[in-house]
Amino acid sequence: MLDHLRRWWRVLAVAGVAEFALGALIAGGPQYTFEFWAFMLSMWTSATLISFDFRRGLLRPVAVLPLTGRQMGRAWWLATVPIPAIVLAALLFSGAGIFCYFGPNHPFPTYRLVMASLFTSVWLGLQFTLNFVGARGFGRNPQEYIRNSLLSVVTVVAFFGTMLLCNNASNSPLRSCILLGIGALLTVAGWVLAEQFDPARAGLYLGRIEPPDLRRRASRLRLPKPKTAAAQSCAPGTGGGLRFLLSTVCVRGFLQIAGMVALMALLWLWQGRNLSLPMDFEMLAAMGSFMPCWFIVFYSLLPLLRHLRVLRTLPISATELAGVLLALALLPPAALGMLLASVGWLFSGPAAALAFLKIYALALGGVALCVFFAVWRGAGVQGYALLLLSLFGFLFGHLWLQGHFHYSERTLMVAGSIATGCILLALVLTRLVLVRGSRVYREETNPSGGFPMAASQ
């Protein structure tokens, strides 16, 4: 537990300072919404940090220490759920208290601070469950397989759903109840996962995924069938190479993010928002581009980059490889942006299409820079920080452009120019790193090459 806190103290300290500042912001007035920032800060103090360690192979040396799985799980749960929750709450209240002390006209916002602390606590619990549900493997029998799969789906939906619903949630009793209720349930589930933690089953983080054994018990008595000649036959079919890679990764990525945006739109409608209003539409477009890009970068691009060594030994030039990496990340959101613009045009007119086009153009610029940062810095903490910076940078860039150009058509031109510049810059820089860098091919051995949501799954 102390080892975790000692190794991550710099990140935790930065998050602590930010939480203190958030407390002051909350005290600054009810007009400031805090939920999204509280969520982001909880992410950088939560079990996400342990997942970085796991990907760098932490589990193997820890698993051979004279500790039970339960002790390990419990220590990690304590270090990433209750301890950060208490410390963050204390910092939040301190920040608000100091702000109110020096600005006596501001009343102490007890309700908002309590809500922020509660949200932070359940989000820490949710993220522990999200990161540790993969440590159970697929399950040893059909019941476990179904249970683990269900828990995985629920936590992933809860994670992204929280990001969507959290904005200004403290002012809505219904949304607060949903977020706190589901969060509390998943926090308890996380504690159960920690109590049942077994390094032997965490094959994902030890470099091997145990396949689920879904056969019936009786069938285990039979001898396994020998592999037939047909089963061993090569015949991989034609149409391999880059076309195969692009088609499989891009099509899968597109379907995943299209499903995500569809779900998002349904949630939006369920909240009673009117999509014919420009402000609501802009908001949906902003979130509907940011989240898919996030998904593509973290769950499609990063797992693929762990295989950069293989890709670089193929007979393609560095320029071609840089282009392929960019295409893999850009094509799914680009196609989705076009689709949404078309749908928007049909149902809400050209303004809606324009809203989607300009935000997606900007988002593509951010994703292009993410490709460069991911190739350059890898999937380490620095890499993640740069990726988040790029994605958020473009989200805020969009908001800034909106404010300065007031929905005029010039925004699309500006966004398009920025995106084109970023894509070209990313192409040049990625090629340069592929040619000159040797570190990029010597990333730490990553036992979780097949992350649960990786493109291959």
Binding site: A235, F244, R312, L314, S438, N446
Partner: protein, 295 residues
């Protein structure tokens, strides 16, 4: 052209390590074993050949192709095998095969099927669930099935059992049987290198210490045991070609380069009861790399 790989003046600088200047020659049709202790620069050399990083000086030519100017053609003709190559993102063996074969017009489906059978791999196997040995076999299969003219293997037998090791080397021997294909293999399994490689190069601290035909290299060195008179040491420092390994009063053990004239020097020093023992490649390796420890 007689050489498949020519490395001249290759330098790669890292903050705490420098590879080279390195000159290395792999004759066409040979199985060349590149050996050296951990951190000697074997993987760095191979990586530079395939563009996994850029060298600071020197050049590499593979079948006459420059590794930087002609990298795409080079990679068409040369294949790389390493346990570090991870194909997990493709999910199943069949998908990885389909992906890789699309890059090579000379892909041999019949040979691929035969190798799959020999390596007990099937298209439906999930790569994530394969053992590390099976993953190495998959990497080897993907390299061999394209019938490359140069095959570069970095620690290919790591994680393989004795039977699989034999199988891998059998396939390699078969691959070079026509005398046109070349294999460069980096390995810590010195007994296998001595048995299968016809040329060997020893890397140490980024420099090539020895290079030549395996039998000649092994035959050139002897373990020498000799005695001096009680209380007497050697009159002058040992010359090049004589590496003192250990001494116990008047009894000495050393590594002797038979081509160096050190044997005559020993006689001039009054060494008595000189016995020469033939070494294995592993003995030679241990003797050479224990030098610093002794000194």
């Amino acid at each position: 052209m007689t050489n498949a790989i020519e490395i001249r003046g290759l330098v790669k600088k890292y903050p705490h390590f420098q590879l080279g200047p390195l000159d290395l020659t792999v004759p066409r049709g040979a199985i060349y074993g590149l050996i050296g202790p951990n951190g000697a620069g074997k993987t760095t050399t191979i990586d530079l050949m395939f563009g996994l990083g850029r060298n600071d000086a020197g050049h590499i030519r593979v079948l006459g192709l420059d590794h930087r100017a002609d990298d795409v053609q080079l990679k068409q003709l040369a294949a790389y095998v390493s346990p570090d190559l991870n194909f997990q993102v493709w999910g199943k063996v069949g998908k990885a095969l389909r992906f890789v074969r699309g890059f090579y017009p000379g892909w041999d489906d019949t040979y691929c099927s035969a190798l799959m059978k020999a390596f007990h791999l099937s298209a439906g196997d999930r790569i994530a669930t394969l053992s590390s040995g099976a993953k190495t076999k998959l990497s080897l299969l993907l390299a061999l099935a394209r019938r490359p003219e140069v095959l570069v293997l970095d620690e290919p037998i790591t994680g393989l059992d004795a039977v699989s090791k034999q199988q891998v080397f059998r396939e390699l021997l078969e691959a070079v049987a026509d005398g046109e294909r070349t294999v460069l293999v980096s390995s810590h399994s010195l007994s296998d290198i001595e048995r299968f490689a016809d040329h060997v190069g020893l890397l140490k601290n980024g420099r090539l210490l020895l290079e030549g035909r395996t039998d000649e290299v092994v035959d050139r060195y002897r373990l020498v045991e000799f005695f001096t008179r009680n209380g007497d040491g050697l009159q002058s420092p040992a010359p090049d070609g004589l590496l003192i390994l250990r001494s116990n009063e008047n009894r000495w053990h050393a590594l002797l380069d038979q081509k160096s004239g050190a044997q005559e020097w020993l006689q001039r020093q009054g060494a008595r009861d000189v016995t020469l023992t033939r070494l294995t490649l592993e003995d030679l390796f241990v003797a050479l790399f224990k030098e610093e420890e002794v000194s």
